[in-house]
């Protein structure tokens, strides 16, 4: 078992609890032992970065310090936005001694241990798309999605900026496809799988956001996808919950089920509904499960 400090972020704690429960249920099957982080806060979701950037850096340093204190070498995220925010802050702290010293001094003032031993921030997707995690996944989820056509949707901030993410080619990634196929499903290819779902501005500029959101859903629908899968709970929220708003703007009812990555692998690995919690989705996943059972 590989021990990782588990940072679930805001959504998996609140409106996307199903992401947390399915990740926890799946972790031991793919060789991960999750160490709970109790004292951590929100990473700022890019919003604190563009409101009070110095506070953003300190909040993330505090998260990294608590994660490093667990003794794990990896801080594992389940959200693209958390991944980018934490990796960006981590890179700045690790590569700038002066900056790190000032931040650590401030952390000490509020009673937080300094961030001294470096820790690496990795998304759950990266843990199971390569290496030992992938080998274990292939065994755990072997041919569990037979007959299902799955449209992978990456979400921006696990691919770009690639110099900070660096796991795979941002213009032709293959991790989700590899996982879908290892689970026995068929991965569909469509241009909008790398584009933005619009979530960051879905409240402040809904029309612009919906204009982005419609592209991946419509393309996946036209390809005949049974479901879409995403490693990001923010993409999940817009694809799943805001889908009903596309009915008004396009006149089309896509009725496209959206799965979290941990749920997709979870289904293939035989995780129970109590942990998958599909009832928490706005668009029903019933037809996907029915096709699988048929």
């Amino acid at each position: 078992m590989k021990q990782v400090a588990y940072y679930k972020g805001c959504l998996a704690s609140l409106s996307a609890k199903e992401l947390d429960t399915s990740t926890r249920a799946l972790a031991p099957k793919v060789g991960l032992e999750l160490i709970e982080l109790e004292s951590v806060t929100c990473c700022g979701a890019g919003d604190i970065h563009e409101a009070e950037p110095d506070y953003y850096l300190h909040l993330n340093a505090r998260i990294l310090a608590y994660a490093a204190a667990t003794g794990a070498d990896t801080l594992m995220t389940v959200c693209n936005v958390c991944t980018l925010n934490l990796r960006q802050a981590n890179w700045q702290l690790v590569n700038d001694t002066e900056l790190r010293a000032r931040v650590n001094e401030n952390l000490a003032q509020v009673g937080v241990q300094p961030y001294e031993r470096d820790i690496e921030v990795k998304h759950f997707l990266w843990e199971v798309a390569a290496g030992e995690g992938y080998e274990k996944l292939k065994v755990a989820a072997h041919r569990g999605l037979k007959g299902l056509k799955i449209a992978p949707f990456y979400g921006c901030q696990i691919l770009r900026p690639s110099k900070l993410m660096g796991f795979e080619d941002p213009d032709s990634p293959s991790s989700l496809e590899r996982i879908i196929e290892a689970c026995g499903g068929e991965a569909l290819d469509y241009p909008a799988k790398l584009k933005c779902c619009g979530f960051p501005i879905i409240q402040a500029r809904e029309e612009t956001a919906l204009g982005e959101l419609v592209q991946p859903i419509e393309q996946a629908y036209e390809m005949g996808a049974d479901a879409m899968v995403t490693p990001c709970p923010l993409c999940h929220l817009s694809l799943d919950a805001w889908q009903s708003k596309l009915k008004k703007t396009t006149g089309k009812d896509f009725n496209m089920p959206i799965l979290h990555l941990s749920q997709l692998i979870g289904v293939a690995a035989g995780i129970s509904e109590a942990d998958l919690q599909f009832k928490r989705h706005v668009v029903s996943v019933d037809k996907v499960m029915a096709k699988l059972d048929a």
């Binding site: 004292s39 890019g46 563009e50 009070e52 506070y55 009903s244």
Partner: protein, 365 residues
């Protein structure tokens, strides 16, 4: 080497559009621009594309290769040709095509002009006709934004602009930051107000395509974040986007985690939220609207509250809060290791430039 290309040929006047394949003999060092020159010279003189400097200075030859915006002069063809791949070349996105690879950049320049891309001086002239000296630290704050060559690669891929063509976009906003951060400029507040308007910074959807594509390392998305942080520091925060961002700060210092249910009324106002009631009820039915009480509070949240106070007193918010990380971020551009033993001015390198006040070796005292 043999290089094959497919080029989307089109003519806006006749409406013709066709994908044509070409093959040329090119030297191994050839760039995409060299190959286009060979196609035009040897096969079809009617092929239209822009070019000038051929060395990533003029920003003329922006185009797409396999859907990805590049500068043709900066793209070597050797690996592609060796792999036997035949790339598809097309015009940039988010702009109408005039002919073949030439786009109509009028809207690009209109947006550029709208941010008043020039210094509007407001400093006090030093007496006796002396120079107005700016410190290196002050200028380095806008170093990245100053590198822009107006090529349009960022705009070509902007996801928000695809959805709303009125969005000012990464290029114009990075240019705005270049002057907001310029210590000689007198219109900082006016500029911040302008970019905080409906088509400004809060339309950015944070897809990071602009950072990914920029051939000069401008990182327009980061420039947009700098504008936002600076505007919020100056209390230019009436836009829903700014209220949204500020609610995350409030959440982090009160409960630690995002107070998700209150985010909509805090961003859109209570009246607009009521209009969304039907939608919200539908989400609530599936547990997507967590009850605000009891609040989901992080353990030891008082630490993050006190951190907020300390950080606020140290006065490094605003764009300076992002600039402070750039020295470390620059190491990403140079080989991902973060540590370089190589002295850029060491043996075998270009001579180090002389800084003002320094004595040249061998020069007369």
């Amino acid at each position: 080497m043999k290089v094959a290309l497919k080029i989307w040929r089109s003519n806006s006047q006749t409406g013709e559009r066709a994908l044509r394949e070409y093959e040329v003999d090119a030297p191994e060092w050839a760039t995409l621009l060299d190959v286009l020159d060979l196609v035009k010279d040897r096969h079809d003189g009617s092929l239209a594309y822009r070019k000038s400097c051929r060395m990533t200075i003029c920003g003329s030859c922006g185009m797409r290769m396999d859907g990805k915006t590049v500068l043709a002069c900066r793209t070597r063809m050797y690996d592609i040709a060796e792999a036997g791949h035949i790339p598809v070349i097309s015009a940039m996105g988010n702009m109408p095509v005039v002919k073949d690879l030439v786009t109509d950049m009028d809207s690009f320049w209109e947006k550029f002009k709208s941010v008043k891309p020039y210094v509007q001086p407001g400093y006090i002239e030093p007496p006796g006709g002396r120079e107005h000296i700016i410190s290196r630290e002050q200028m380095s704050a806008i170093h990245k934004e100053s590198l822009c060559i107006n090529c349009g690669a960022c705009v070509s891929e902007c996801n928000a602009m695809e959805s709303d063509p009125a969005f000012l976009g990464p290029h114009a906003l990075a240019k705005a930051m270049r002057f907001v951060g310029d210590p000689r400029d007198s219109k900082r507040i006016d500029r911040l107000e302008e970019v905080s308007g409906h088509n400004g910074i809060h339309q950015c959807t944070r897809c990071y395509y602009c950072n990914e594509r920029c051939p000069k390392g401008v990182d327009p998305r980061d420039a947009i974040a700098k504008l936002s942080a600076e505007a919020i520091k100056e209390s230019i925060d009436s836009d829903m986007g700014a209220k949204h961002a500020k609610w995350f700060v409030t959440s982090a210092k009160t409960t630690g985690w995002l107070r998700e249910t209150e985010l909509v009324p805090k961003t859109q106002g209570v009246l607009a939220s009521i209009k969304q009631a039907k939608f919200a009820l539908e989400l609530a039915r599936h547990g997507k609207v967590p009850p605000p009480f009891p609040a989901h509070v992080a353990k030891n949240v008082k630490e993050s509250r006190r951190l907020h106070g300390i950080v606020a007193r140290q006065g490094r918010n605003g764009f300076a809060g992002i600039v402070q990380g750039e020295q470390a971020m620059a190491k990403l551009e140079h080989g991902h290791t973060g540590h370089s033993d190589r002295d850029p001015y060491g043996p075998g390198s270009f001579p180090r430039p002389y800084l003002p006040g320094e004595k040249r070796e061998g020069a007369k005292a």
